[in-house]
């Protein structure tokens, strides 16, 4: 299974970016092979609006099945739902630590957005 973690940097020791839509990077971790790839989210960092929706589109296109992040707003949650991606909020620390929490079941699956919309 491919899991996306929002990240401030480009490796496993980078801090988790608490923002989903405007995360700096997505670390796409493959739980079967323990390999990861890095996807830039630069285009959404400066988006006027809809960053969460577009970010959902990007990770969906990359075949992600679960998302680990800090916070997720309502529009992003709706888009992630359409993509069939499970959302785990409240991740902290490094990307590696967040993945560890995920694997050990410490992160709870979100049933809805955990923050308000920024826009509209």
């Amino acid at each position: 299974m491919k899991v996306a973690v929002t990240s401030m940097g480009q490796n496993m020791e980078s801090k988790v970016d608490p923002r989903f839509g405007r995360a700096n990077w997505f670390i796409l971790f493959n739980t079967e092979t323990a390999e990861y790839e890095v996807v830039s989210n630069e285009q959404n960092l400066n988006a006027g609006q809809g960053a969460g929706i577009q970010s959902a589109e990007i990770i969906s296109r990359n075949g992600v099945e679960a998302l680990i992040t800090g916070n997720c707003g309502p529009k992003a949650f709706k888009a992630l739902g359409a993509a069939g991606i499970q959302v785990y909020c409240g991740a902290e620390g490094t990307v590696a630590e967040a993945l560890e929490s995920f694997k050990s079941g410490k992160l709870e699956k979100a049933s809805g957005a955990n923050v308000e919309a920024h826009w509209a």
Partner: protein, 285 residues
Amino acid sequence: MSPKLTIAVASGKGGTGKTTVSASLSCAAADAGYKVAYLDCDVEEPNGHLFLKPEIDCRHLVGIPVPVVDQKKCVACGACGQICQYSAIVCINKNILTFDKMCHGCGGCALVCPAGAITEKSRSIGSIEGGSAGRISFYHGNLFVGEAFSPPLIRAVRSTGCNGLNIVDAPPGTSCPVISAIKGADYVLLVTEPTPFGINDLDIAAGMVKELGIPHAVVVNRHDPDNTLARDFCRDRGIKILAEIPDDRRIAEAYSRGALPYSAVPGYRELFKELLISAVKEAKW
């Protein structure tokens, strides 16, 4: 001479006196015998009605077209999501999602859909009310609370008015709502106060009207003879000052009662009459 002239009253900074100037000008124009309409385009917080006290006799809703997707016809090609600059429609995992509140109503998605799966419905974003305040035709827009895009409503307010002199009360700032309010106007009066903040924003607003190619001049509000900030700025930029409204406590007191200096403070009738004459002359009407 064209029967129609539109003068927009704008400012960079908020609270400089746009409504005081535009409503007073409208009164001066009516008294001078002009056919005049006052258009309150500050649709996020219209307040001209507090001073002109119009009798409202018509109201209608203003909407923008938003997409409706027929999932049976949709081929999930994603073209709609690619054309949309605002993420208002997106194709994810062969599902089409729409976010109405983010839609600017451009119609691009319906145009590019190869399957004809997208039609449009109107989504109301606000209302326009019209009426009369004495001999002034009055129109204002009211954006619904929670709506983010005012330009379509502002354009709808701009499409009203009369076949005479139209005075537009623009929203503050220099972004899309202001552009929508002043675009196509024959002349712009930029109201400023002679403070560093006021001049800073006047500078940006003057750049905006220059870019739009609209002839303009400045009205200084809360003018103090010892403060030359506005005069210096306008002299340096070659922008005319058409009126200086004194920093007069009586104006503020009248304002707090919902009265205009034009009618409530002795001596100001003349000032606004002269401003009207100079603005009409400068606009070459």
